[in-house]
């Protein structure tokens, strides 16, 4: 009895689902769903410089769009940093852990949220100026930012 009901529901939903089914979502969809930037609108073509300093001393200088998070910068520029951003910026891991200089850390517009702090607690080699890259949004003020990628992420590549 109940079984039949379900299949009836399933069937009717099925037709509904067929009508409204988007086959996979494009990246732009995600963007509209979860704006990665919290308060700074992504201005067109406005770029700033960021330097990633890897554990072996290698420096990667790159350009970042204003409004992107550091994780976006790594992904969009195909910076090959092993294991970086495993959870895709959903604050469930700590692989995008970065270490900032004290003055940069202090001038970030927003402190780490409770959610970020919970994850930072689980980061390897936590320092006083640690943050998660997925939560740092690039702004014009941060032009020339230099960040350190902690040891654990990249030495696996050597």
């Amino acid at each position: 009895m109940s079984l039949r009901n379900i299949f009836r529901t399933v069937r009717s939903t099925h037709s509904y689902l067929l009508r409204y089914n988007y086959l996979g979502a494009s990246f732009s969809n995600y963007k509209s769903v979860v704006p990665l930037s919290t308060n700074i609108p992504a201005l067109k073509d406005e770029k700033v410089k960021v330097t990633f300093v890897l554990n072996d001393g290698k420096r990667i200088e790159t350009e970042a769009k204003v409004g992107d998070s550091l994780l976006d910068v790594v992904v969009n520029n195909d910076l090959n940093i092993e294991g970086y951003g495993a959870c895709e910026g959903t604050l469930t891991c700590s692989t995008c852990h970065v270490i900032l200089k004290q003055e940069d850390f202090d001038r970030l517009p927003e402190e780490a949220s409770d959610e970020e702090r919970d994850m930072l607690d689980l980061a390897y080699g936590l320092t006083d100026t640690s943050r998660l890259g997925c939560q740092i949004i690039m702004s014009k003020d941060l032009d020339g930012l230099e960040i350190q990628i902690p040891e654990t992420i990249n030495d696996a590549r050597s």
Partner: protein
């Protein structure tokens, strides 16, 4: 590289031992196991890594040479034919499913930091891990699609019994009991929406309204001594379901007025049945694989109920949403991934999101009722932040003591006592070579209540979570929501619901408990065993 590890091993073996862990290990099999909490004998301990990182590292390969074999892992010996399943059987076995917590404590006492549980009928061998550093290492070496031990019964339901529904569209089986690429694709679609901090924040006000209704409900259902009724847990289930349906289905189900036979009561009963059956079906002998047992039939019927009710409401919500302007979770999921994904996500949320949250709340309320001083401190903090106005997004972030209290209860009494992974590659754990496919169970209940990981572990001290200094405890010992790609998908909502309702209740009542202290049992959440009769006195 290899030589370095050998030296490390030798060094640790020769040096003086730390008594606690190693002593137990030696007791277990009279050998040196190379598990020593302080001296980090296990070679790979030297270099904890981030997720992915360990995948291509030579560390595992090198370690293998010095690691002992799987056969040498200590643990209760399975009997021929019966394996170890008999130990969980009623009357004849000495391991009670209800008291897996105590079983695990004694297993650790007897065998040490990692224990092999082999020969469970119809299941892969299990490895219980009691060392937080090993947990960290396994988590950090995860690849992009970690494999969580499936519930075979749910697996059977999703992939055999109701295959037509769950496989009708690619990558649409959900997140529970689904693995590999199919899981990964679904998870990516959903987690961006469900785990974003802002998604939960927008529900602050409606969730607070449900909490207000619950507070009102509590004041109505108290008996003449102002105590909550024996079935208070069921009332908390109703609150949980009401909050979750608001989030997952855009609907106020009206659970507080639920009467027998209504959709909401059917849903509550079905979820209860589902969870009671899961424990039994999974740990006891899997007769259901041979023929549909009574319990298995109940289980399938419960799942069917949840599925049909969920679908009904998703469909209704979708119809409604065509007119509405605001972006709810459900609508965002539909936009991002299509209605079927949204429906299956809602189903999975109901399967695992109701009684986990409600048992956590029951446990927190009970623990608070035993501690008037903590309640006062909480009340002070809450009044200071809210100042008699309704709750707004971000308020809870101003309440560190509230968050700390929740963390502390979940440390001492985690609703889910363990978490697990099915290894997707051969791995060295605690100095043993553990083959791919083994189910590794992290015993968080035991770890988060052990002195090694937390100072004065048996004391309720929310303050420990407020200390600024890092290194106060091992971060991987207490992980009520898990870690990494497979972390609890409903975490933001669960935290929002829990913080909000505790805040509202503490604000409204002073809680007292005047009966015999309750023991905890696994039912199948880790929860106080007995009626939660709290005396609720208006403030």
């Amino acid at each position: 590289m290899r030589r370095r590890f050998c030296q490390l091993n030798l060094g640790a073996v020769n040096s003086k031992r730390n008594i606690t862990t190693t002593a137990q290990c030696q007791q277990a099999d009279g050998l040196e196991l190379g598990v020593n909490s302080k001296q980090r004998t296990c070679p790979v301990h030297q270099r904890p890594r981030s997720t992915h990182a360990a995948l291509e590292t030579p560390v595992f390969g090198t370690a293998t040479s010095s690691a002992k074999s799987w056969e040498e892992v200590p643990g209760p010996k399975p009997l021929p034919l019966l394996g170890n399943t008999w130990r969980f059987a009623p009357y004849i076995g000495n391991y009670s499913v209800e008291h897996v917590d105590k079983v695990c404590l004694s297993l650790r006492e007897q065998y040490g930091d990692c224990v092999k549980m082999a020969g469970l009928l119809g299941r892969p061998d299990m490895l219980f891990v009691f060392d937080a550093r090993e947990v960290e290492r396994v988590f950090r070496s995860e690849d992009g699609a970690p494999h969580r031990p499936a519930m075979p019964s749910l697996n059977y339901y999703k992939h055999v019994l109701r295959k037509d529904f769950f496989s009708a569209e690619e990558n649409c089986a959900g997140v529970i009991s689904v693995h590999g690429d199919s899981w990964s694709a679904f998870r990516t679609k959903v987690s961006r929406v469900a785990l974003s901090v802002s998604a939960a924040a927008q529900y602050t006000e409606p969730v607070a309204e449900v909490a207000d209704d619950f507070v009102y409900r509590i004041s109505k259902i108290r008996n003449k001594d102002l105590e909550t009724p024996d079935d208070f847990l069921n009332e908390i289930h109703k609150w949980s379901l009401e909050s979750l349906s608001l989030i997952a289905l855009d609907t106020r189900l009206g659970c507080f007025d639920a009467c027998a036979g209504s959709d909401s009561q059917r849903l509550i009963d079905a979820v209860n049945t589902f969870f009671l059956c899961v424990g039994e079906l999974e740990l006891r002998a899997p007769w259901w694989r041979l023929y549909p047992t009574r319990m298995f039939k109940q289980y399938v019927a419960a799942l069917d109920t949840i599925l049909s009710v969920t679908l009904k409401y998703v469909e209704r919500a979708l119809e409604d949403s065509k007119t509405g302007g605001n972006k709810s979770l459900l609508q965002e999921l539909v936009t991002a991934a299509g209605p079927r994904v949204a429906a299956v996500a809602a189903l999975d949320m109901f399967l695992v999101g109701i009684d986990t949250t409600s048992n956590a709340v029951a446990s927190i309320l009970y623990q608070l009722s035993l501690r008037p001083a903590v309640q006062e401190k909480l009340y002070e903090e809450i009044t200071k932040v809210l100042q008699n106005r309704p709750m707004r997004p971000g308020d809870v972030n101003q309440m560190p003591y509230l968050r700390a209290c929740v963390k502390e209860v979940l440390r001492m009494f985690p609703v889910v006592v363990g978490n697990g992974r099915q290894l997707t590659k051969d791995t060295v754990i605690c100095g043993y070579h553990i083959p791919k496919g083994t189910q590794v169970i992290f015993q968080h209940y035991v770890m988060s209540n052990s002195e090694e990981n937390f100072v004065s572990a048996s004391e309720f001290r929310p303050e420990r979570w407020l200390l600024k200094t890092s290194g106060k405890h091992h971060a991987f010992a207490s992980l009520p929501f898990g870690f990494g790609r497979r972390m609890c998908l409903g975490r933001r909502f669960a935290e929002l619901e829990i913080h909000t309702v505790i805040c509202k209740i503490v604000q409204a009542f002073r809680m007292e408990y005047h009966h015999e202290l309750l023991d905890y049992h696994i039912h199948p959440m880790y929860t106080p065993n007995g009626p939660i009769r709290l005396k609720m006195i208006e403030r």
